[in-house]
């Protein structure tokens, strides 16, 4: 289980998260939504131990999230973090050498599923295929927590669909929890168990998505439009 205990995060003068107190359950796909700069990525980085809270603590299975938490947490960055001179296979081999929970067989299956060429160099791949490689190396780990920062951002619909399908078929929710930040609420709507909505670093909603649908009679994206309307142009 992931716990945020009154967590605030400031970057110099800017407050990224404000007094977040939250418990994320296991075995779910949880979406973190909000506008640019609302604190979504910061939340993920805190769980991954890539940044430290300015106040409060973040616990993963009771353990403070520091750099060593990477044993338990697979993190897909929104940036391009792999070596461009590596081939797809070399990238997989490299990640396999870094994480003991890496499943090479699953990586092979996923490369196949994503129709990637193992001998192609990462730098020669299209943006969509680089997105697919990131998914392969992230989901090939048997880590109990999978964090994905904007995995669909800037990709065409076909790639987005293959990434969503890849997620559904290769993640094991009886053992894994997925936390995903995204702008493409429409596309991940049917994928999410729960949603954390952020605004200016504060949580404005934490809800079960199916419950939101039956209580408000709105889809998540409609709800979002309603809640964030007028706010964007302040």
């Amino acid at each position: 289980m992931i716990r945020f205990e009154n967590v605030s995060k400031r970057y110099l003068t800017k407050t990224a998260l404000m007094d977040v107190d939250l418990e994320l359950p296991e075995g779910k796909i949880i979406g973190v939504i909000g506008e640019n700069g609302s604190g979504k990525s910061t939340m993920l980085k805190l769980i991954a131990g890539l940044v430290r809270p300015s106040k409060g603590r973040v616990l993963v299975d009771g353990e403070p999230a520091q750099r060593r938490i990477a044993r338990k947490v697979a993190y897909l960055s929104e940036l391009e973090t792999y070596y461009p001179i590596f081939t797809v296979q070399e990238t997989v081999d490299y990640c396999a050498s870094q994480f003991t929970d890496f499943d090479r067989e699953r990586a092979r299956e996923m490369i196949d599923f994503m129709r990637l060429e193992p001998t192609a160099k990462v730098k020669s791949l299209s943006k969509g295929n680089r997105g697919r490689v990131k998914l392969v190396v992230t989901l090939s780990r048997n880590a109990p927590y999978i964090l994905m920062d904007e995995p669909l951002s800037g990709l065409d619909p076909i790639v987005r669909d293959s990434i969503i399908k890849g997620l559904i078929s290769f993640v094991d929710l009886s053992k894994q929890t997925v936390i995903i930040t995204t702008h493409e609420v429409n596309e991940v709507e049917s994928l999410l168990d729960q949603v954390v909505a952020l605004r200016d670093g504060e949580i404005i909603k934490f809800a079960d998505v199916e419950e939101l649908r039956s209580n408000e009679r709105l889809s998540l994206s409609e709800w979002m439009t309603r809640v964030y309307a007028g706010h964007a142009c302040k």
Binding site: G27, K28, I29, D161, I164, K165, I168, S169, L173, E189, S190, L191, L192, D193, E210, R213, S214, R217, L218, S219, L220, S221, E222
Partner: protein, 128 residues
């Protein structure tokens, strides 16, 4: 089961509804195995937890049975399926009659209108 869901009502119920329709149209036979949770999730692009919930709901309704280690199967209990068919018929009629009532039609007008409409339909093609 490819079409998109209407995301303003719970997806697990819509999926349950869809499976029921397939059964009633006999596209899924009694005793037939449903796709695994993961396969169904893939086919319909939804969360595996949602499919699990759908199967749980259908099981609660007595429409499917889960056999340990084998998967989820459509019940072979014909009377159970007949009951589901009956329930759905009633639900649809209720909805239709309610809307007609709201529009100000009397039961008699509804009956006559329905009869006329059905008589205009070519034999055996009353379904659209």
């Amino acid at each position: 089961m490819k079409d998109d869901f209407n995301t303003s009502s719970p997806i697990y119920l819509q999926l349950a509804d869809r499976i029921q329709r397939h059964i009633l149209r006999q596209e899924l036979a009694p005793g037939e195995k449903l796709p695994s949770v993961r396969e169904m999730a893939m086919q319909s692009n939804v969360n595996p937890n949602t499919v699990q919930r759908t199967y749980g709901e259908l099981e609660r309704m007595g429409i499917v049975e889960t056999r340990r280690g084998q998967g989820t199967f459509i019940t072979e209990d014909g009377s159970r399926l007949e009951k589901v068919r009956e329930d759905l018929r009633r639900q649809q009629i209720e909805a239709f009659v309610r809307v007609m009532g709201e529009l100000g039609f009397s039961p008699r007008e509804i009956m006559i209108g329905l009869e006329e409409y059905l008589n205009e339909q070519p034999e055996g093609e009353s379904e659209s």
